[in-house]
């Protein structure tokens, strides 16, 4: 009886190993298509101001984590904590923080972001477009309406119907109240 059980185990072991190998997730980094980083700065400033406060997305425990001068700061070894603290207007958002925000935005729904970039889906399929419009449940409520300058700033950047580095900053500037 024991011998029969051992034979079964021996027969099943390779199959089990094969199955385990097939289920092993790939740890290779993924690259996705995302709207141009060159044009992200004004979008990031808008998100920092309207979404990135410490009690909302400027919080390291929340999805779409945003860094910036009004909220959470990203401190590297080279940064001075006596300067790079939350709310210090003398220390504007750093290039590292800008890059982190870009990763957060692009990585929120990467597959859908690729579909939007490829024209297979509209920007309204993205949760980060729907939530501020309150077209999807959002704890922070309605942040802006569809068609407003803030909404256009974000959507135009996502749709990326422009050459990299050449996005019209008009809507973003209007939303931020700058000339």
């Amino acid at each position: 009886m024991k011998r029969k059980a051992l034979l079964w185990c021996a027969a099943l072991l390779p199959a089990g190993l094969l199955l385990a190998a097939a289920c092993k997730p790939s740890l290779e980094p993924n690259t996705i298509e995302c709207p141009p980083f060159e044009d992200f700065k004004s979008v990031s400033l808008l998100l920092e101001q309207r979404c990135g406060t410490l009690d909302c997305h400027g919080n390291d425990g929340r999805p779409l984590r945003l860094y910036g001068q009004y909220g959470l700061r990203f401190l590297t070894d080279d940064d001075d904590p006596d300067v790079l603290f939350s709310g210090n207007l003398a220390a504007p958002t750093t290039p590292t923080e800008l890059e982190r925000n870009y990763f957060a935005v692009c990585g929120l729904e990467p597959e859908k972001m690729v579909m939007v970039q490829n024209g297979e889906a509209g920007p309204e399929s993205l949760t980060m477009v729907r939530k501020p419009r309150l077209a999807e449940k959002h704890k922070g409520g309605r942040i802006w309406d569809q068609g407003k300058a803030e909404d256009d700033c974000l959507v135009n950047w996502i749709v990326a119907d422009y050459e990299p580095g050449a996005m019209d900053p008009g809507d973003c500037n209007d939303a931020l109240g700058v000339e």
Partner: protein, 219 residues
């Protein structure tokens, strides 16, 4: 007897399942009341009020927004009589006044402010001789309050940092002598913070606060 036991067990299970473990842990981390300060509008200055005074926290009264105003970012000397004005997203405004320990709050009511909110503090002013003056000094927040009514969630007693703009204050360092705030009123039922950034307070809130830069209301 068997039914009675089952009913009691059911009640115990139901009650134990009502808490929010995240909120409960956060409340517990703040510790108990000071022995000589009863729970009242004078207790726990500088702590996140809405953590307890909310549906999840369970304390009464329920409040929408609350915090504490201190004189500057070097000490925990509270400011009495400061007006905190918030402007909500539907155009309404609400005014609160800080008490002798610097605490202010807005109870939930028929007409609660709608987030996001903008806020400003109208600080009382004094002459160098300590006489109260007529004009107020207005300090405004640079960012919105998006969803958390506890000012101390972001304006932490631990001072400025990557997740804190420091506690709320009225005076920049150079204004300490030109606009001196009086010590805590005699008979005030509250005590200033004794821990974290406050270090060893001397009873008037003059601790060795850890404030190391621009903070809170000064922005």
């Amino acid at each position: 007897m068997k039914h009675a036991c089952s009913a009691i067990a059911l009640v115990i299970v139901s009650l134990s399942g009502c808490g929010n473990p995240v909120t409960d842990d956060a409340i517990e981390a703040w510790g108990g009341e000071l022995p000589d300060v009863a729970p009242s509008e004078h207790h726990r200055p500088g702590q996140p009020c809405v953590l307890c005074h909310s549906v999840a926290g369970g304390a009464s009264p329920r409040i929408v927004l609350g915090g504490t105003i201190f004189a500057d970012q070097q000490s925990f000397l509270p400011v009495e009589g400061a007006e905190v004005v918030i402007y909500d997203s539907v155009g309404d405004s609400y005014t609160m006044k800080s008490n002798c320990i610097g605490n202010f709050y807005l109870e939930t009511g028929d007409r609660d402010p709608q987030f996001p909110l903008a806020a400003e503090i109208r600080c009382p002013t004094y002459s160098a001789a300590g006489e109260k003056l007529e004009p107020q000094k207005v300090v405004s927040m640079n960012s919105y309050i998006s969803r958390d009514g506890s000012c101390a969630t972001c304006h932490s007693l631990s001072g400025t940092g990557v997740q804190s703009t420091g506690w709320l204050f009225c005076n920049a360092p150079e204004e300490a002598t030109s606009n001196p705030y009086p010590p805590i009123a005699e008979g005030c039922a509250g005590k200033p913070p004794q821990t974290e950034g406050g270090g060893d307070g001397d009873g008037n809130g003059n601790g060795d606060g850890n404030g190391n830069g621009m903070g809170a209301a000064g922005q």
